[in-house]
Symmetry: C2
Subunit: 141 residues, 2 copies
DNA sequence: TCTATAATGGATAAAGTTGTCCTTTATTGC
DNA sequence: GCAATAAAGGACAACTTTATCCATTATAGA
């Protein structure tokens, strides 16, 4: 349902949120170790997050990655959409003309389900999922 | 989010529901024309639906496919699960021991979202999406 | 029993996703 | 400027999903 890449992106953002410290940058190797995201694949994912403006990168010595803003201002939906945009059903997949202005009940129901998911993810912040009483800490053994 | 195969399966089930007529069987070519599912791929999908016991097939002359039961007794979730099972997050994707008995808030939230989807699809029947006032008919131009 | 019909199952191809590696570009400190 | 460092970007490999095709199996009717 959610792609592997989306799962990886969530872990990377959460790791960066947990290690956030002013403007300190973290290399992709260190992030990979902390998230178990394949070291060679992680840079692609971080780059998508940079392009979505959720993460800031800096090249060269002392460079690396950091969150662009407070975890309270990043939603799970923004993370998803950065790497694997949630595709709503905007138009009839069969391209039927009669369904152009309005989806049939089948696709309307499927899209309503997607809308629910979108809303749930939009209303959850990274801050919220960092720690909750009686839950184990993300990424921590 | 929902796979192409799941979309095709929905169309095929809906088509069979709309054409249901006692024990009449329909060939995959006719169903393909009515659903725009690729003719060579549709038999695979119908076969999955047969294995899930939502559809009954019969070989040979006069054979084909038909629904195994009333559309009111088939949920969208059953159709999904027949071809592309909705994967809940049952255990920590990082295999962290500390998350064995309980998911961390990140995965708990993602799984809660999947649970929502599961519930919504489980509570929608094929009968419900066949026709609704002020909606265009499924599959019909 | 023979022929026509239609699903089943397996092999294969095409496309998309995930993962690896290497070169290029940018940045820092000497 | 030079060397070391680290992200960006592109080529490519492995795997999965989607799609095609063909041989096999089952059924009906003559």
């Amino acid at each position: 349902m959610f792609s592997q890449t989306a799962e990886y992106a969530m872990r990377a953002i959460v790791w960066l949120a947990e290690h956030r410290d002013n403007e300190k940058m973290f290399g992709h190797r260190e992030i990979s170790r902390g998230t178990k995201v394949p070291e060679s694949y992680l840079p692609k994912i971080l780059n998508s997050l940079v392009k979505a403006d959720l993460v800031i990168s800096k090249r060269g010595a002392g460079g690396g990655f950091r969150l662009s803003r407070d975890p309270v201002a990043i939603s799970l939906l923004q993370v998803m959409n950065a790497v694997d945009p949630l595709q709503r059903i905007h138009s009839c997949p069969l391209k039927l003309k009669a369904h152009k202005s309005q989806l049939c009940p089948v696709h309307a129901k499927l899209d309503a389900t997607l809308a629910e998911v979108e809303k749930t993810l939009a209303n959850s912040t990274i801050q919220e999922v960092l720690y909750q009483p009686n839950f184990p800490h993300p990424l921590r053994e």
